[in-house]
């Protein structure tokens, strides 16, 4: 994935030295939220951890090239989402038996409850873009502009995608449609 905020200037030595501290601080502050986001998207904790670790390693590698470090969180969030897409795509293309996310394990099922699992199942039946828009809006609580930046689409697309997704979710939950 290539970030919008990447320049082609050579990294300065000081930047490389700062990267460890800055990226570690960002990780401490946001790893939990991002891992939960990845968990919702991919369904299991080990994969979610890997996805987020990879995103932060990518950020660390590119730290010297970042033009706007204030947006490092947006960059890493976008990478997490992209990595989740890759994971889901690989699963779809290389089926080796049915994938049962631990979200549906007995322990998790007890914690989440059947009614909420029904909502998550309905969410998972939506197209990928609609699913992502809903998770970013209602779990990450991002604004339309932030969602647009994360998904690399226009604000109008976010608005229409979210609206369509909510309608579709409503139809599935209320009508049992699949």
């Amino acid at each position: 994935m290539k970030a919008e905020a990447v320049t082609h200037a050579a990294p300065r030595a000081r930047d490389v030295a700062d990267a460890d501290t800055a990226v570690t601080a960002l990780y401490r502050g946001h790893a939990l939220g991002l891992m939960r986001l990845a968990l919702i998207m991919v369904g299991d904790r080990p994969t979610a951890e890997d996805v987020v670790q990879d995103a932060f390693l990518g950020l660390h590698r590119r730290w010297g090239h970042l033009r706007d470090r204030e947006n490092a969180l947006a960059y890493v969030r976008s990478t997490v989402l992209n990595n989740c897409r890759s994971v889901l795509r690989r699963r779809r293309l290389t089926p080796r038996g049915r994938h049962e996310p631990p979200v549906w394990s007995a322990e998790a099922a007890a914690l989440v409850g059947e009614e909420r699992r029904e909502v998550i199942r309905a969410l998972q039946s939506l197209p990928a873009r609609q699913r992502e828009a809903l998770v970013l809006r209602y779990f990450c609580e991002l604004t339309e502009e932030e969602i647009a930046r994360t998904m690399r689409v226009s604000r109008g697309t976010v608005k229409s995608t979210t609206s369509r997704a909510i309608s579709a979710l409503g139809r599935i939950l209320e009508g049992g449609e699949r």
Partner: protein, 371 residues
């Protein structure tokens, strides 16, 4: 916030809570090493060449990676290969497509098409097709000028019969697309008991499609179309104990709609086939595919289309490199092969020499490329 939104928010929160704060692992940053500025690399390389010419042994700093594969070069070797196509298109899936100049690796243009998952070229170096997957599969024809600028991005209406499109290829004249469809996958979850493969050929001039479905359970994941557009090659794999892995050739004039009535081109007896892209040579007499060595290594293998000549290993994946490949494409001379995967970014392979074209570090992110 309406009732649905409230239910969704509550459910997402509940699932998120199953990941407790104390379960977050520590960040594992790589050990620090001496990083060379990109501007210094050419100078060091030039110095090394000068020193070598003068017969002086060059000692590189300890931090310089020593595991580099000998056949890999950063610049095309002189006189070893036919001149490759001037441009290639690449996209780090699912990013936007950019046009790159092969010789300089310089990005010369960028398209506005986002969410690209697959790319295919017709072989003329100027006409390409892209597939996007943003809820629905959409196809676009892209034409570039002699200067590498994007002259046209036209949506191409292709009616997908059913299932999910996992790969596609274009005919040499750009009038046909061959799609491979995976049937029996619901919401990204494969159901082995209903899983079928299908090949659909769309005629872009008439808007008609023809579909061949497998009569048995299995997977089709990659496709190539010979330059005449008459033969479609695809991989066929079955799951379970009697695992079968084949590359088959489908005659698109065949009236038999059973995909498995097609001819078996390659069996796994010699090389274990693994899933990956396919590419016909420009003369249509051989096909490049991803194979597996007896020791389990992943390779790019050139198989003859008709029985006789022995398959030839073109390249072995880097040790520890990802086994997945995202792209394979011959140039019109059949000498240069564009590929991505096996631990390599988008690269050119000619006469056993790899020239790195992409400088992407995320080797695990799939990439689409064509020329």
């Amino acid at each position: 916030m309406n009732a649905i939104e409230e239910r969704l928010k509550d459910s997402l929160g509940a699932v998120a809570e199953t990941f407790p704060a104390e379960a977050v692992p520590d960040l594992r940053l790589p050990a620090r090493r001496l990083a060379l500025s990109r501007r210094l690399v050419p100078l060091i390389a030039a110095g090394a060449v000068a020193a070598a010419t003068a017969g002086v042994a060059v000692a590189l700093p300890d931090a310089t990676p020593r595991h580099r594969t000998p056949q890999v070069t950063a610049v095309p070797p002189l006189g070893q290969a036919a001149i490759p196509p001037r441009y290639y298109l690449a996209a780090v899936v699912p990013d936007r497509i950019a046009v790159y100049e092969t010789a300089t690796r310089r990005k010369v243009a960028r398209t506005s098409i986002g969410g690209v998952t697959r790319l295919a070229g017709t072989g003329d170096g100027r006409t390409f097709f892209a597939m996007t997957d943003q809820g629905a599969h959409r196809f676009y024809r892209i034409r570039i000028t002699d200067k590498g600028k994007v002259a046209e991005t036209t949506p191409v209406p292709v009616k997908v019969e059913s299932g999910s499109v996992v790969a596609f290829a274009a005919s040499g004249d750009g009038t046909k697309l061959a799609l491979v469809l995976q049937l029996g996958v619901t919401n990204g979850t494969p159901k082995p008991d209903t899983m079928r493969g299908a090949v659909e050929v769309a005629d872009l001039t008439t808007g008609t499609t023809a579909t061949w479905r497998s009569s048995a359970q299995g997977l089709v994941q990659s496709v190539a179309m010979d330059p005449t557009g008459r033969t479609v090659a695809f991989d066929w794999q079955t799951l379970g104990r009697d695992h079968v892995s084949q590359i088959r050739a489908l005659d698109v004039t065949s009236k038999n709609t059973d995909l498995l009535a097609s001819r078996i081109m390659v069996r796994t007896a010699t090389f274990g086939a693994v899933s990956g892209p396919l590419a016909f040579s420009p003369d249509g007499r051989s096909i490049a595919a991803i194979g597996q060595s007896e020791k389990g290594g992943v390779q790019i293998v050139r198989y003859p289309v008709t029985p006789g000549p022995r398959p030839r290993v073109l390249l072995s994946a880097r040790p520890g490199g990802a086994a997945e490949f995202g792209a394979l494409a011959f140039d019109p001379t059949g000498t240069n092969l564009l590929f991505e995967g096996g631990g390599y970014p988008v690269s050119r392979l000619a006469n056993g020499t790899v020239t790195l074209l992409g400088d992407r570090k995320d080797a695990d992110v799939e990439s689409a490329a064509a020329w």
